[in-house]
């Protein structure tokens, strides 16, 4: 996936933006999807598809703790993806020219 595609996926919705901010501000956060939804002031239904997209992209990972499925930031993958975004943005000139 190119840096441009990663960027589009990361900023595809307001909820996804909120999730990115939440996990980047709290990189050690481990919580259920319900808990994550509450933290960004939304319902589980409102965030579930965006959490899935971030899981698929690899920014988030999921594991089982006791009876609960929890999600957390994969810091290494997140760094790798943001690096590809940074490299993409290096080639873009503000104003639209390449």
């Amino acid at each position: 996936m190119s840096g441009s595609e990663v960027l589009s996926t990361l900023l595809a919705s307001e909820v996804r933006g909120d999730l990115l901010v939440l996990f980047h501000r709290n990189p050690g956060l481990i919580d259920t999807v319900d808990g994550v939804a509450r933290r960004v002031g939304r319902t589980t239904i409102a965030v579930i598809s965006d959490v899935r997209e971030l899981l698929q992209l690899g920014v988030l990972r999921q594991k089982r703790i006791g009876n609960s499925d929890v999600v957390f930031l994969d810091r290494a993958k997140d760094r790798e993806l943001l690096e590809s975004v940074a490299n993409h943005l290096k080639t873009v000139r503000i104003g639209g020219e390449k």
């Binding site: 960027l7 589009s8 990361l10 900023l11 595809a12 919705s13 307001e14 996804r16 933006g17 909120d18 990115l20 901010v21 980047h24 501000r25 002031g41 997140d78 760094r79 943001l82 690096e83 975004v85 940074a86 943005l89 290096k90 873009v92 000139r93 503000i94 104003g95 639209g96």
Partner: protein, 135 residues
């Protein structure tokens, strides 16, 4: 004067059609300069935090070196720059900025309302101006 500040806050939402002209007209040139400077400072730091928190500090530094934050208080220009860099993603970053700015200034934020970035910044600026007139 306190009443005015409270009113500004009560009526403030993402899409408040505030007009800073009316408030700024009653400020002395020094007050106006100080208020503009204070608002610009809050806005730039909010934009830095928003971009840094969403996309990381490497991305923030690259965008800063490309001039994203030059004249950040010019909302139309900032919007144009964000659109050229992020396309549809620009509105997501703008929402993060407006949400954080609203929190810092004590303005009610309505996530359901359609975002009008320019008007939201006008509202925030008005609150800053009212605050400076109370000083």
């Amino acid at each position: 004067m306190m009443v005015m500040a409270v009113r500004a806050r009560e009526s403030s939402s993402t899409n408040l059609h505030g007009n800073s002209e009316s408030v700024s007209a009653s400020l002395s040139p020094d007050q106006r300069f100080a208020a503009e400077k204070a608002f610009s400072s809050v806005l730039v730091s909010t934009v830095r935090e928003a971009v840094g928190n969403a996309l990381g500090h490497n991305v923030l530094e690259i965008l800063t070196s490309k001039g994203l934050l030059d004249d950040a208080s010019n909302s139309r220009e900032f919007d144009r720059k964000l659109q050229s860099l992020f396309g549809n993603g620009a509105v997501v970053l703008e929402r993060i900025v407006v949400k954080d700015l609203s929190r810092k200034l004590g303005i009610r934020y309505d996530s359901e309302a359609r975002l009008d970035y320019e008007k939201s910044l006008e509202t925030a600026k008005e609150v800053c101006f009212v605050g400076s007139r109370l000083k």
